[in-house]
Symmetry: C2
Subunit: 183 residues, 2 copies
DNA sequence: CTCATGTGAGACGTTCATGTCTCATTGGCT
DNA sequence: AGCCAATGAGACATGAACGTCTCACATGAG
């Protein structure tokens, strides 16, 4: 009966990922609480979305830590990264589209930190000679976001299996569509 | 002074891509007409979005035709495809996120046709031995959408140059991040 | 010139999401 | 048992977006 903030945030993320325009009443119902209680703990819809953003950033940074991006080859690091990011994909997909939904308004500083760490990973791969240099590290970061969101939605809508998620994204991002003749 | 339907649709697409929640008044102002006139020609916001969807589908199918997906190698076809799709990327990005915004509601039959043609292209590449078969053709289609949207937004927000668009997307989709040792 | 069509500006009513408030009830703690 | 804090249900007011309508004006055709 006691208010479970984390549970509410996860339920909200699940619903809003499927339907970004859901009303606060729908969010409350999905979380199993009343609209009044939702407003008691999050002063307004904006505050809820911001809390979701904070949660997403925290999970994302935790995933980056767990993936140990600086260790081993960049290729291995990217694989670990995608695997670590998989659990928070739906939240990421929601926040990704939410960011496109509105104009500038200055984005959360956390995203800049995450962007920087991802870009650094791709840059490391380029400097070590593993990754090609004709695709900028910034673009590779953007592409990773896009593929994560696309994969997340494909899974949600049943066009892809959740088990394939990590493989699909990591393989496409690293190896591309073309068949490799020789290793 | 005479009403230019096509011009209005393009202005609406440009604005809505940047700000999907724009008001009908903002859309009208962006198109240089009054809100009343906008409502005279499109009975409601839904009708406008549907018209945008029809336009996007038509342009997309025209691009598929122009790319001659059945000719040459699948790789060449994909490159022609990305190049042909580039002009309507912003419209595609808007419709892509718009589709995720709402639940099912049955999607336009045009998208199914386009999906089928794209999937067929990737399947052809797999059967000819050009493309790897551990990534399903359906997923490659989804990934293409995701990369197009990511690229479109990156260009809009100035994180990537429009000139690089075709190269960025086609190269990443086909070749991936990893450097090729031998051709 | 005259008239008709189409447009812009603005007012108006409606709908809907939202935030706040009240009040009865519940569940836990002493 | 008795008390306190938190919750759920519902009413209420507010504001925004929308669709419709009216009226004045302009442009083009006859």
């Amino acid at each position: 009966m006691s208010f479970d903030r984390d549970h509410v945030l996860r339920a909200a993320a699940d619903l809003l990922t499927r339907k970004a325009t859901a009303t606060t009443e729908e969010v409350a119902r999905a979380a199993g609480i009343s609209r009044a209680t939702l407003n008691r703990h999050f002063s307004g819809r904006d505050a809820l979305v911001r809390a979701l953003e904070d949660l997403g950033i925290a999970e994302c940074e935790a995933a980056l830590d767990a993936a140990r991006l600086a260790e081993g080859t960049a290729e291995e690091a990217v694989r670990r990264l995608v695997r670590a990011l998989e659990p928070c994909t739906s939240l990421l997909a929601f926040l990704y589209s939410e960011n496109q939904l509105f104009e500038g308004e200055g984005q959360h500083a956390g995203w800049s930190r995450i962007d920087a760490r991802l870009t650094e990973l791709f840059r490391r791969g380029q400097e070590s000679g593993e990754f090609r240099i004709d695709l900028s590290a910034v673009w590779l970061t953007e592409a990773l976001y896009g593929l994560l969101a696309a994969g997340g939605w494909a899974v949600i809508e049943g066009r892809a299996a959740r088990n394939d998620f990590t493989h699909m994204i990591a393989e496409l991002l690293l190896g591309g569509t073309m068949r490799r003749d020789a290793s």
